[in-house]
Amino acid sequence: MKLVIAIIQPHKLEAVKRELEAVDVNLMTVTNVLGQGRQKGVTEIYRGAKEAGGLLNKVRLDIAVNEDYVEPTIQAINKGAHTGSVGDGKIFVVELAECIRISSGERGGLAIG
């Protein structure tokens, strides 16, 4: 089991969701996050006071998958979120120790899908 964490451009969420659904990955958690990478932040001005390097809005997806689905999930996110410019985001894949479905008590691979 792996946890795939993707940080993407907010406006790419729809496209990424579509690509994920196309490879039968339908369960995910989505949150608004702030971040800065190579794209650098933006400058904000409030009553003349400049704040350089403000963080940019990004969207984070948390997707738990079984081994067979890891690569398709990565490919789907890439396909949906890629534009080729800085700021497209990153994908992290980490080992997942356990997964429990609260409604049924199922554990592991069964609970993920």
Binding site: H11, N32, V33, L34, V42, E44, I45, L56, N57, S85
Partner: protein, 410 residues
């Protein structure tokens, strides 16, 4: 000088200002994505500032100054020269000329503000500013003169437009459509609405529009009299009918009634009753509200998707289409029993009125569309109307104004 009339017209002027800020700012602001809400509010706010000055400096004179061949007002009243605290018998028998001027200023402000709905979320602020100034000067001011100016050719022809169905709503609505077509769709727009970021804002805005519209319509009587009361009542009834009709239509068509639907229907009702409110009775105002809700629903929910243009906040679908319905409806339902200074419509035996209304409508549509096209091309060549793709993606709040409406983290 009539103190009662003066009090009402000054109050009505403030009510009409309430329609643009905060009414329209919140109505439109809630409909866009969170990254663009401040751009809408900025545009509404700046229009109030810029057009107020334009109006004082030369706009009012172009619209209402001494007539030049029925086409435009002469510049005799530039800087409000000759406009003062005493009444002008042509426009304001019982009230100060200043009161009439500032009441009309609020109309000149809201008309270009309505167009914001068409280019929302992708227009460059500098280009918006220049476009707005040119559009008000070369489209709104002449139109206001044609329909309302003494000597204006549509007024002479006998076109009925009590509070601005043609001048305000048809002109801004058709210009909105032309702009939406020329500017192209927003990135990611796919024939279905982009989810509004704050519907409570939109409902608040619609409610403020409803309240402010009493100044717009009943104030257009320019007196605290029976005609103002008639306009007040018909405005309210048409709006109520349109709001519930829209909700019922979508209940039947989509399975649920929505508050966005009820609010949009109410605005459509306000638009349609605008030209009619001082010429029709309450029963017919109810019919106008019911008709416009159905027609605008078809325009917004069905037609827009079929044709695929991105009239982002339905400035055309509600104001252009609603204003057209209202202009025709005035030609049908108007009656001299309500307003002796008006005319009878088709249902009261005067088919000619419908012809006059249609002619005024066609000329307005053609004039506004062609002028908008020309102004767009000029501004686009000089400045560029649309922001760069990257700026559109990040959002206009950060890229055009360097500020954000909402913090995610303190």
């Amino acid at each position: 000088m009539d103190s009662g009339n003066t009090a009402w017209v000054l109050t009505a002027s403030a009510l009409v200002l309430l329609m643009t800020i905060p009414g329209l700012a919140f109505f439109y602001g809630g409909l866009v994505r969170r990254k663009n809400v401040l751009s809408i509010m900025m545009q509404c706010f700046v229009i109030v500032c810029v057009i107020s000055l334009q109006w004082m400096l030369f706009g009012y004179s172009l619209a209402f100054g001494p007539d030049f061949h029925g086409i435009i007002g002469k510049l005799d009243w530039m800087g409000l020269a000759g406009v003062g605290a005493t009444p002008n018998p042509d426009y304001s028998g019982g009230i100060p000329h200043y009161a009439f001027m500032i009441f009309q200023a609020m109309f000149a402000i809201i008309t270009p503000a309505l167009i914001i709905g068409a280019y929302a979320e992708r227009v460059k602020f500098s280009a918006f500013l220049v476009f707005t100034l040119l559009w008000t000067t070369f489209v709104y001011d002449p139109l206001a003169h044609w329909v309302w100016g003494v000597g204006g050719w549509m007024r002479t022809l006998g076109a009925l437009d009590f509070a601005g169905g043609i001048v305000v709503h048809v002109s801004s609505g058709i210009s909105a459509l032309v702009l939406a077509l020329l500017l192209g769709k927003r990135i990611g727009y796919n024939h279905k609405p982009i989810r509004p970021h704050n519907l409570p804002f939109t409902v608040l805005g619609a409610a403020l529009l409803w309240v402010g519209w009493f100044g717009f319509n009943a104030g257009s009587a320019l007196a605290a009299d029976g005609l103002a009361a008639n306009a007040f009542v018909t405005t309210h009834i048409a709006t109520a009918a349109a709001g519930i009709t829209w909700a019922l239509v979508e209940w039947w068509h989509n399975g649920t009634p929505t508050i966005l639907g009820a609010a949009t229907g109410a605005v459509a009702g306000l638009v349609a009753v605008t030209p009619a409110c001082g010429f029709v009775n309450p029963m017919n105002a109810m019919f106008i509200g019911m008709i416009v809700a159905v027609v605008c629903y078809i325009a917004v929910a069905i037609m827009k998707g079929k044709f695929g243009y991105d009239d982002s906040l339905d400035a055309f679908g509600v104001h252009g289409v609603g204003g057209t319905v209202g202009t025709f409806a005035t030609g049908l339902f108007a009656e001299k029993v309500v307003n002796a200074a008006g005319a009878d419509g088709l249902l009261f035996g005067n088919a000619h009125q419908l012809y006059v209304q249609s002619l005024s409508l066609i000329v307005t549509v053609a004039f506004a569309a062609i002028m908008t096209f020309i102004i767009f091309k000029i501004v686009d060549a000089l400045i560029g109307m649309r922001v760069e793709e990257n700026n559109e993606v990040v959002g206009l709040d950060l890229t055009q104004q360097s500020e954000a409406a909402y913090t995610v983290i303190e």
